[in-house]
């Protein structure tokens, strides 16, 4: 595990070269509707290795569904999704692509992690046990080694003193940091953050954003970050996507999209969010 604290110089040149590498998340013509409500409308999206992409837009615009599609919690009605080169819901055979099921998706899912808005920690386990869970039961590490790595991960998010506490004994911010540590345990190549501060009391938002920011700066994981924290998005993102009604209506660097938006929907959305 690359420690969050470990300093890694991400020179612009490095970024540029990694952008040329094959995309770690690749969506083509992905569509999803619930009933007759179209949530995601024919999205094409590529996230390069190491690239940090922020997704902004009003509620119900499809941002969260894009993340849930990327990790296979939701199956698309149409289109293909590839994670680190592998199709999530298809298998490549001699005769081309053929549909594959949950069993196949499970394997592909190993290289992608997500942090949920509502943490979703296991309430009957301590912080350490939560983080240890995938180390023991997915990687099959021996108890001692998984304990050591889980401890290390929790120290990295500043929870050294809370290892043996249950989620109910932790603040929302601490719980979310446990969730971040847990999602890092399998060393995913891609990390998804789904409004990770939206369920938190305002005074706890900072500690979680600091952890995510540190992670974004220090690691070479690709990240897709759904957030309403515009300043935070401007800080850490290489690229910002503005969603509206299931489509990407504007995309570009944070400077372009957040400072000089050209789309009227983006302008209107940013005005509303920043006036809050």
């Amino acid at each position: 595990m690359r420690s969050v604290a470990e300093p890694i110089a991400l020179a612009p040149a490095h970024r540029a070269s990694s952008l040329a590498a094959p995309a770690l998340v690749s969506m083509r013509g992905v569509r999803k509707s619930y009933g007759d409500r179209l949530i995601v409308d024919s999205i094409d999206l590529d996230v390069a290795a190491g690239e940090k992409v922020a997704l902004i837009g009003p509620s119900g615009s499809g941002k969260t569904t894009i993340l849930r599609l990327a990790i296979g919690l939701v199956k698309p009605d149409a289109g293909t999704i590839r994670i680190a080169g592998d199709y999530l819901w298809h298998e490549e055979g001699p005769g081309g692509l053929r549909p594959a099921g949950e069993r196949h998706a499970r394997k592909v899912r190993r290289s992608i992690g997500i942090v949920f808005q509502q943490f979703n920690l296991f309430p009957h386990m301590t912080a350490l046990e939560n983080v240890r869970e995938p180390l023991v039961h997915v990687l099959g590490l021996p108890r001692k080694e998984s304990d050591a790595r889980a401890t290390e991960l929790l120290c990295d998010v500043g929870l050294k003193d809370h290892l043996s506490k249950r989620p109910a004994q932790l603040s929302g911010g601490q719980q979310q940091r446990v969730a971040i540590a847990r999602s890092l345990a399998l060393q995913p190549k891609v990390m998804l953050f789904d409004e990770v501060t939206s369920a938190l009391d305002p005074e706890l938002v900072g500690e979680v954003l600091r952890v995510v920011r540190k992670l974004a700066q220090a690691s070479d994981m690709s990240m897709l970050i759904v957030t309403h924290e515009i300043g935070f998005a401007a800080d850490i993102a290489d690229r910002v996507l503005m969603f509206d009604a299931g489509r990407i209506v504007e995309e570009g660097t944070p400077r372009q999209v957040l400072k000089n938006p050209s789309n009227p929907r983006t302008q209107q959305f940013l005005r509303a969010v920043l006036e809050r």
């Binding site: 990790i71 919690l73 499970r106 899912r109 190993r110 992608i112 992690g113 997500i114 949920f116 509502q118 979703n120 920690l121 296991f122 309430p123 009957h124 869970e133 995938p134 039961h137 997915v138 249950r166 109910a168 847990r182 999602s183 345990a185 399998l186």
Partner: protein, 221 residues
């Protein structure tokens, strides 16, 4: 013999016989419960697994058992099954009858306990790629069990009382003993009153114990 409605001496004299009956009632409840827990789990797993034929069959069986009286089921097991060559002793029949009847309710209790688990728990387990077995035994059941156990406890208390129906298939459990004593001595007030009192005391104490246990093991504590 005393002709008063209530004779303390007589009541005292029949107590040992009634306590013999209680033993049988407790044994029937114990094994009936075990069978209902086990079979109920089987029904739940078959339901969840969505196996063609088997799942609809179990679904129908559960509804059928819930939709017919225990008394009819006991009669059927005891008086009709022997015609088809399946003849079991009264106590065995009674325990099986109780077990099967309550397994249908146990299946509902398990299902409710499992469905109560927040969706986010399933999603967290899924995105961590935990193996299916671990999801069930490490994540789902440890949490559901805390909701399921108190309800199962109530079911055991219910079964304890309903096991009185076994007296109709000649099992000499508590009510069976009381009825036998009544017809033997032509006194029904004492045996039936005492039987009722014993049912009440055991149920009441069990329910109170269960509630205090439940308070100490609330989810999240």
């Amino acid at each position: 013999m005393n002709s008063a409605i209530w004779d303390w001496g007589y009541a005292w004299s029949i107590l040992p016989d009634l306590l013999d009956g209680v033993k049988l009632t407790i044994v029937a409840t114990f094994f009936g419960s075990l069978i209902s827990f086990g079979l109920g789990l089987v029904w739940t797993l078959v339901r969840l697994a969505r196996i063609p034929v088997a799942t609809p069959a179990v679904e129908f069986f559960v509804q059928f058992v819930r939709g017919t009286p225990l008394l009819v089921q006991l009669y059927f097991l005891f008086f009709v099954f022997p015609n088809w060559g399946l003849s079991l002793p009264p106590m065995t029949t009674g325990v099986l009858g109780l077990g099967i009847f309550y397994s249908a309710y146990a299946a509902e209790i398990y299902r409710a306990g499992i469905e109560d688990l927040p969706l986010g728990q399933w999603e967290a387990a899924l995105v961590l790629s935990l193996p299916i077995r671990r999801v069930w035994f490490g994540i789902v059941l440890p949490q559901s069990i805390r909701k399921i156990l108190p309800v199962l406890g109530n079911q055991v208390i219910g079964m304890f009382k309903e096991s009185a129906l076994l007296s109709t298939i000649t099992v000499m459990e508590l009510l069976g003993q009381a009825k036998a004593l009544g017809s033997l001595d032509f006194r029904y007030v004492e045996p039936l009153t005492l039987a009722g009192a014993i049912y009440f005391v055991v149920s009441y104490v069990s329910a109170r114990t269960l509630r205090s246990w439940e308070g100490n093991h609330a989810v999240g504590s």
